[in-house]
Symmetry: C2
Amino acid sequence: MNDSLHGLHTAQGSETTSNNDRYASALECLIGGSVAEWAPGGVSPFALLRVAEHHPLFHEGSPTHSVHVVQAGFFKIVRTGEDGYEHVLDFAGRHDLLGCDGLANGQHPSSAVALEESWVYALPMAEVRRLTQRLPGFSAHWESAMSAQIGRAGDLAWLMAAVGAEKRTARFISLYARRMAERGQSSRRLLLRMSRRDIASHLGLAHESVSRSFTLLAEAGVLLVDNREVEIVDPDALHRYAFSTRGYPPAVPRQPAAVTGEARRPDLRVVACA
Amino acid sequence: MNDSLHGLHTAQGSETTSNNDRYASALECLIGGSVAEWAPGGVSPFALLRVAEHHPLFHEGSPTHSVHVVQAGFFKIVRTGEDGYEHVLDFAGRHDLLGCDGLANGQHPSSAVALEESWVYALPMAEVRRLTQRLPGFSAHWESAMSAQIGRAGDLAWLMAAVGAEKRTARFISLYARRMAERGQSSRRLLLRMSRRDIASHLGLAHESVSRSFTLLAEAGVLLVDNREVEIVDPDALHRYAFSTRGYPPAVPRQPAAVTGEARRPDLRVVACA
DNA sequence: CGGGCGGTTGACTTTGGTCAAGGTACGTGG
DNA sequence: CCACGTACCTTGACCAAAGTCAACCGCCCG
């Protein structure tokens, strides 16, 4: 069973630089152009930082000076409750934005901890604002990035909405695979960079339940699981696991004349222009 | 038990306009200035729309032209799974932003349904961008608003992270009260605008469980519950319910020399400037 | 070689989802 | 004005799912 997983790590490593790399760095990917084009003298004001494994990039409660974009490595986003229980809100890898929350009130509501040696660009908000003024296309890029962060909330909700432990786990794997694909990595052979405990916290389960779910999905022929190496052998079955939920009434008491899009609708009436 | 709740509705109604209303409209609150000051001739390009009870402001999958800000009324944000199961992601009231997700890929990943007759301002993104260029202080306001939306994700995660049904319910009430307070309404006497079913969907529980939780919290002397009218009689107890989670090891294998803030740290090293 | 951590598995217990029934409030139509 | 239907909420009984406790294994690192 494990034979087919040999060399997974190195295979992924080589894939990392293959796709989605029209721009050399995560920074350029975010900006939407090469550094040479826009930066004065080809030197950007954005520093590249190294974060050692298991170390925080920033802490809950610390003041927000900058937003960060991951160049390489992997993080977990964690929020610690008053009682010391820590909940994993999200994971972030290459090209993901860190610390966008906390822009509102000036301090981070969550911590970012490196799960492996990582490199990130620090984007001081003052610089970001300057960029917004100077680079015409940047605003849209930036909005899009922020909006994508909001979309992550939906992903989390979707994860937690699943009823069974196996379904949640299936959704997690499914989502993880999708994100890997977005980064140009294999979406069939995955290397989970986080512990079962972290996954469990993220999914709102006991870590034993996560473990059981993995073995269950493996026995069902959906996955091959060898510790943190996972191969999706039956994507359709995984999809079926992930998307099934117990039945609910069609719910929306949608009026017969309900209209899609933004066509003219009687239930939505312009009253005034402030 | 119900005597103390008489007249709750009207009491809240009068409170609505008391606080947090330095600006006449939600629009001005978002902009951070009065319409007269910045709009040409005091006429803004933002339309005020009326949405009838139980009707959608926008539908899942519909294209995103605008973002909306709630002037009055109440919405639920809903995402419908492939299988037709609908999950309530969030609720939104006065001054809240709607439809910020979907900026990334140009279509709404969720629907917004009015729980009562509501009024919202429609902000076409093109106008928002123009505003960003023109009004100097607006960028920061806008970022802040977007960031706050991201923060909501954390709130949701926090809700779902609770283990017991009563705890989740307690967190929901606690959060609801906080948001009411932010709008200048009473944070002790609440009028829930959504059905038990909606709450249950939001919390990932069966609606029976929500019902049981309410009666349990009422029996414990924490709440007074009369259908959708809720009074928090013992805020401390509610807080205790809301913030307790089963014990977890302190978790963070925080290195002895871990530092708060952004002081100089050996584990975080500047490598280069792209 | 040994200790600790991460992962897996088993046995037991509690939680909460499901099914079912009953109650109340509201709106509609006779 | 009253009868009826419906939607929403509550409560009870039952059972499956998952949390807890505990033991065991393999691996890495000292």
